[in-house]
Symmetry: C2
Subunit: 279 residues, 2 copies
């Protein structure tokens, strides 16, 4: 019997997306495209007499994590560590929920499959209203193109076969819940357009172009993000806005070339995984 189990879940920046509601949260979600990042969330789940969740050492309540622990009937201590900020478009809540699912399953020997655990975390994130597509993208890794919404039993995911350096620069936060609660019809039309462009030309260049166009068409581009993207373009860089955060990311060195003190990471080829479950 082990006392703790650890999982790693890559970060995920979304470039464009749709909203696809459904009564069943495991069938609801979004289509879209994004990048899985080597900067992610390491989640350790430990036996405990009472439930607790910390993010970088600070007590926190993340609804999606609570819902995962409810579904797994787990009284455990969840410790999440990440270099990524919350609320800035990196899928930290979804990653913590998925890591809690993988870690709890390993620790308490719940005997669930990978797709079942992804489905639980995806449904929890959708019900919490904090994300629609991060969890399934983080389960796949790489540069996922989510062609159908929902959990792994319902969706269909392809990917751009690419690797490389990624930089990001966080300006501020945006509330996913506030935007998803608003009128999302125009956003979904813009997301569908972006997806069909990138499916025709699955390269990181076309992904970034479609993402910039989506941010404009969906009315989500802030003045500060626009200004940073102009600086990146002036330095011959290639970037876009992370959905949903006031964050700019580039594939390649566009942000540092433009003089920004950006954080450097890379596309993470693999999906979420337990770190060791052999003992």
């Amino acid at each position: 019997m082990t006392d703790e189990a650890t999982a790693f879940v890559p970060g995920h920046v979304t470039g464009f997306f749709t909203t696809d509601p459904a009564d069943d949260p495991t069938k609801a979600g979004s289509r879209g495209g994004g990048l899985a990042l080597a900067d992610g969330v390491t989640v350790t789940v430990e036996r405990s007499d009472e439930r607790s969740v910390t993010l970088d050492g600070v007590d926190i309540e993340i609804e999606a994590v609570e819902r995962v622990l409810d579904a797994l009937r787990a009284t455990v201590a969840v410790r999440a560590e990440t270099p990524l900020p919350l609320g800035s478009g990196f899928g930290v809540s979804g990653a913590t929920a998925l890591g809690a699912a993988l870690g709890t399953n390993a620790l308490l020997e719940r005997g669930l499959s990978e797709n079942e655990l992804v489905t639980i975390a995806h449904g929890a994130e959708v019900q919490a209203g904090t994300g629609l597509g991060d969890v399934v993208a983080q389960a796949r890794g790489g540069v996922p193109l989510r062609l159908e919404p929902g959990g792994p039993q319902d969706n269909y995911i392809d990917a751009i076969p690419a690797r490389g350096r990624v930089e990001y620069h966080v300006i501020g936060e945006l509330s996913t819940e506030a935007i998803l609660d608003g009128d999302t019809a125009a956003l979904t039309r813009a997301g569908e357009k972006g997806l069909s462009r990138v499916v025709k030309e699955p390269t990181t260049e076309s992904f970034l172009r479609a993402s910039r166009q989506f941010a404009r068409e969906a009315g989500l581009l802030t003045d500060d993000v626009r200004s940073v993207l102009e600086d990146v373009a002036a330095a011959d860089g290639d970037g876009a806005m992370a959905m949903l955060g006031e964050t700019v990311f580039t594939v390649g060195s566009g942000l540092t070339d433009a003089g920004y003190d950006a954080t450097i990471t890379e596309i993470h080829p693999g999906g979420a995984t337990v770190l060791d479950s052999s003992d």
Copy 2:
């Protein structure tokens, strides 16, 4: 314009499988379970005036690779490097075919998606008769459970959420083509039984138990493999036979514990990937 592109594809040992023929090679294949291995095949594709394929520096003809290069209309030099032996149940031909597809797409900017490249390599391997499920398993990584046959547009894959040390000991070769050309009805019945057992209990322990039972029921267990597995069991280890090779693998240290000079690797969590396509 780059002069070469490199891809990494994990090795894959199959524990149990079915054969699922179909007229369309991208829909044909197998269901089953296996382990993706950190010991894999690194494939470098280089511009060239004539087509060539080498494996560990030696000229070789691998039909699945030729078919991939035909499909991509590519005149390139393919250099594959691997610590794994050919013909011993590690999916080296499928891995080389998939690596050639990923590398050629990146080098020649063919603009295909990940699933399209996996479909091409899977269909090539099926047509060559050298494998039925390795390519799609290598594209996923981890401990894939192939619940439906065929390429990514048709199949459904789940996985056992596990990591850990793997050891393997190669006794000799088995011809995949010879066995697949024979009567596979009993083999498929045994494979279906194994899969349904592991779906109910998706752990590495149940996977290895189902794999041992499959080898016996499908009549593929050789005397030498049986003898090694008995030694592993006597040392409290947990192993099975790699399909299709005269090879024993263990999750954990069962082979070295039993005194064998085994090769040590581990479950590879990610799938096949280009190594760098950013330049």
